[in-house]
Subunit: 161 residues, 2 copies
DNA sequence: TTCATACATTTGTATATACAAATATTGTAC
DNA sequence: GTACAATATTTGTATATACAAATGTATGAA
């Protein structure tokens, strides 16, 4: 049956071609890591044509959410999905692409103020629908109930101490 | 209530500090990426003290599963959780650490044969319990039914075309 | 006012990853 | 047997990420 073939292709043991059944805890963790990788591959494929990374795209979205107010580096950092160590250089790249501007904060010269440019907004408006479509496509096979449950279960994983 | 505080800390909107509720599809995908990152941070923390990466650890486990039989690079590649482009250099590192050996395959000199060494096996025996404990700890809050369901839902995400 | 400390960001460096091109070997058609 | 395509791996290069140290600025105590 086609269903069975499909199932085989999805099963994590078959993906990593191990003959033995994995313990459930390992299976779930491996599946989580694998699925994330799978999603990132697809996202990068979408974004590559527009010469931007998901991290950079997210920073643009964060800045756009500021509604004109500039953001400091630390604000951006704490709003990023994957907190990375080097936001400075990420912003450098967005500056090179003329999507953002950086000035030192007048009231506290240790800080910097980063704002999205007109160019950056235009770019964001072009790319956002692509990302939205991707998100919808990727979750289309799951019902609302299933998505809520998946979200819950992921939260629960992160309750480990 | 403590429960509510806990819930707040887990909610993805609060983690990335956005004021607006995300669309469910985005919420789930962001949560998946975030949770993977969260897990990888923890795994790296465990492994860092033993000067090995998860990728390298997995390759050792793959080679150990061969039960003495050597594996070629391509075999290793297809069994890796995150198929990476550069398995050669990953093996180089394991050779430097004296955990594996590499010889050219006598029957087909394009191929290489990689085997785990005694040293590599001893190391693996030392690290495996640490990883097992991590996996158990990370999934301890979920029932078997929940873990099975999570596994299913992750598979379902990957049924997008 | 000066000094120590804290804060915000930047820079240096090592390592990891992605992708393409190069190398070496084998199989096959003629 | 020679030429050409296919296979398996390696190498080069660009980019990404992690971590620690360095820089410049502000704050508060003496």
């Amino acid at each position: 049956m086609y269903i069975q073939i499909l199932y085989r292709q999805l099963k994590i043991e078959n993906i990593i071609k191990t003959e033995v059944e994995l313990p459930l805890s390992r299976k779930v963790i491996v599946n989580l890591l694998y699925t994330e990788h799978w999603i990132m591959d697809k996202i990068n494929l979408e974004l590559k044509a527009h010469d931007i990374s998901l991290q950079q795209f997210n920073v643009l979205r964060i800045l756009n959410g500021q509604k004109g107010k500039p953001a400091n580096l630390s604000t951006i950092q704490e709003r990023m999905v994957s907190k990375m160590s080097n936001t400075t250089r990420l912003v450098d790249k967005l500056i090179t692409k003329t999507y953002v501007e950086r000035t030192t904060c007048p009231s506290n010269r240790r800080k910097v103020e980063i704002t999205i440019t007109k160019n950056g907004k235009e770019f964001l408006n072009k790319i956002s629908p692509i990302m939205d479509a991707f998100e919808n496509r990727t979750t289309a096979h799951l019902s609302e109930k299933e998505l809520l449950h998946l979200n819950e279960l992921l939260n629960k994983i992160r309750t480990t101490n």
